[in-house]
């Protein structure tokens, strides 16, 4: 086969380039075909399906036959009494989550970094990743077990003066339990990247700091933290970019009518209205609103990330 990198690409006309490209790489395109087909069917066809958001969609009539209603579905959502509650819950769960689940893996990584005993460090790390492999269903099951009327968490809460019964069915406790269990499950996993960033900090900097008389704490403050600052900033920006994207899987498993007040987020509402109540057009509109806001935020976050750090996700 001929060389795959002709140098005179710029000068040859497009048609000729196309021909040669296909002649050289037809096998490549053959390999790409199943992948393209897969994404066309399972990613792009649904994207096309968002037109349902502008219709009074009926399964029998299909996407081409249903009545077009313009922005009525969106108007209905913005006017809905649930709109503010959903927006508030989504943002609060996200923000509180960020507040706890962002700094703690960093602190965990820093603590591990201070441990000198290699074997102990390794064991702690290994155990800390373990919960990541446990399924959401199991995590929520355990949560229900601890949060039931005489469960562990309820008992502890009662000891501190709580008198509302089972915490799992109390809307006041939902966010705490949701974020706390997320933290339990993902702390170790999320710390991996910081641990690897810590390993790249130049050891001579520590030596220099020691000579200058810096203690452990001072070293952490002036050498370690600045060393992993770029990683922290990039990850923080990326996390901020996902602020509207609270997933539904765990919420759906955890919530119930008694906790909707704080637990219901946009994505779980889409599931309830769209799949359970079969209100297809409307729920697609709600979802589209969420996706578009998400995409815009993500693009902004990526733009900032690029400016700040010359690192971007694409």
């Amino acid at each position: 086969m001929k060389s795959t990198k002709p140098t005179n690409y710029v000068k040859t006309p497009f048609g000729q380039r196309l021909k040669r490209d296909f002649k050289n790489h037809w096998q490549m395109y053959l390999l790409a075909l199943p992948v393209i087909a897969y994404f066309l069917i399972f990613s792009y066809a649904p994207m096309f399906g968002v037109f349902m958001a502008f219709e009074k969609y009926q399964i029998k009539k299909g996407i081409f036959g249903s009545t077009i209603v313009g922005l009525a579905n969106f108007r209905r959502f913005f006017m809905s009494p649930f709109f503010w509650r959903l927006l508030r819950n989504t943002l609060l769960i996200s923000l509180y989550g960020l507040l706890f689940s962002f700094p703690l893996p960093i602190i965990f990584a820093l603590c591990l970094n201070e441990v000198r005993n290699k074997k102990f460090k390794k064991t702690v790390q290994t155990i800390s990743y373990l919960p990541y492999f446990i399924s959401v269903v199991v995590v929520v099951s355990i949560l229900f077990d601890f949060g039931k009327a005489n469960g562990l968490i309820t008992n502890i809460a009662t000891f501190f003066g709580w008198d509302g019964g089972a915490v799992i069915s109390s809307s006041k406790w939902f966010r705490t339990l949701y974020i706390g269990s997320n933290l339990w499950q993902h702390l170790g996993y999320n710390s991996i990247i910081f641990i690897s960033a810590l390993a790249t900090v130049d050891p001579t900097l520590y030596e220099a700091a020691k000579i200058d008389g810096a203690g452990r704490w001072k070293q952490t403050l002036h050498v370690t933290l600045p060393g992993i600052a770029p990683t922290i900033i990039v990850l923080l920006i990326l996390r901020l970019g996902q602020i509207m994207g609270v997933g539904y899987e765990k919420i759906i498993l955890m919530y119930g009518p008694s906790t909707y007040e704080t637990a219901d987020v946009i994505s779980s509402y889409v599931y309830r209205v769209g799949i359970l109540d079969a209100d297809y057009g409307y729920s697609t509109a709600v979802n589209l609103f969420n996706s578009v806001v998400n995409m815009v935020i993500l693009c902004i976050a990526n733009f900032i990330s690029r400016k700040v750090n010359e690192t971007s996700i694409w």
Binding site: P46, F108, V270
Partner: protein, 274 residues
């Protein structure tokens, strides 16, 4: 101290699963050791329970089939993406990355699966969700690290592009393949939502996680374990709950120490480029 916190909930369930059922029902708080006389009664009941066993089998089918399909497509996509000098290389990459940024959402995806006639069949759990753009990117990064001279040399020797993939790239990429298999397998083993979505009538196709959800979270134990002897089952109810959690978690736990090394590598590649 932290280790204890990570481990405690799992321990609690493990101990609960072998405790005296009557004591479990009346005791609150954490189980640090089996209550009363240790028993395997819960596990015995599970082993006799056709619903749970069938769900277990279903899960294994889904994990194997879906991981195999996903890995195959993943390798193709990553190979094409990592090849330099393709006229349509960039559009192809964009085509894939865009699926990470924007999706049609729950209902339109549901409609597509519905229209394809996959509802209430095993295929609904095997095909949708088999391929993830994120894993493609991870593998692409790794494939791109294979030295270009090696590939060029092979091509000069007359190897076709498919040969280059199977004879050169795949043999040197064993560890990244292990990582990707691990990611897909864990994801499919723990998945329940697509099953809840696409298997509305076919209860006999339920994977383990969805059966677990019904047993533990929706308290429909009676219907699930109705085929066993009534009185016994009522007493053992809490044990069945814990024991099912255990049998659904143990395979991943058992697998984990062996794949730990790969797992960390994979997460790192993913976070650098993700």
């Amino acid at each position: 101290m932290l280790c204890i916190i990570f481990f405690l909930p799992v321990w609690h369930v493990a101990m609960g699963s072998i405790s005296d059922p009557l004591k479990v029902a009346s005791t609150s708080g954490l189980y640090l050791k089996p209550l009363g006389k240790a028993t395997l009664g819960g596990y015995k009941l599970i082993m006799q329970n056709s619903t749970i066993l069938r769900a277990y089998g279903n899960t294994i089918i889904y994990v194997v089939a879906s991981t195999a399909l996903g890995l195959f497509l993943n390798i193709l996509a990553a190979y094409v993406m990592s090849t330099k000098g393709l006229l349509f290389g960039k559009p192809f990459a964009l085509f894939i990355v865009f699926t990470m940024i924007f999706s049609g959402g729950l209902v339109p995806t549901f409609m597509v699966v519905n229209k394809l006639g996959l509802m209430d069949t095993r295929w609904a759990l095997i095909i949708p969700g088999a391929l993830s753009a994120y894993n493609i990117i991870i593998m692409r990064t790794s494939f791109a690290g294979v030295p270009g001279e090696m590939l060029d040399a092979a091509k000069i020797d007359g190897a076709s592009e498919i040969k280059v993939l199977t004879k050169i790239i795949l043999p040197v990429s064993k560890s990244i393949i292990a990582v990707i298999v691990l990611f897909y397998a864990v994801q499919h083993w723990n998945a329940w939502f697509n099953a809840a979505l696409y298997l509305q009538k076919a209860r006999n196709l339920y994977p383990l996680q969805l059966t677990l959800r019904e047993i533990v979270l929706q308290s429909t134990e009676n219907s699930i374990i109705a085929d066993a002897d009534g009185q016994d089952v009522m007493i053992f109810r809490p044990l069945i709950k814990y024991a099912t959690i255990m049998i659904s978690t143990i395979p991943m736990m058992a697998l984990y120490p062996f794949v730990q090394k790969y797992f960390v590598t994979g997460v790192m590649i993913g976070s650098v480029k993700g």
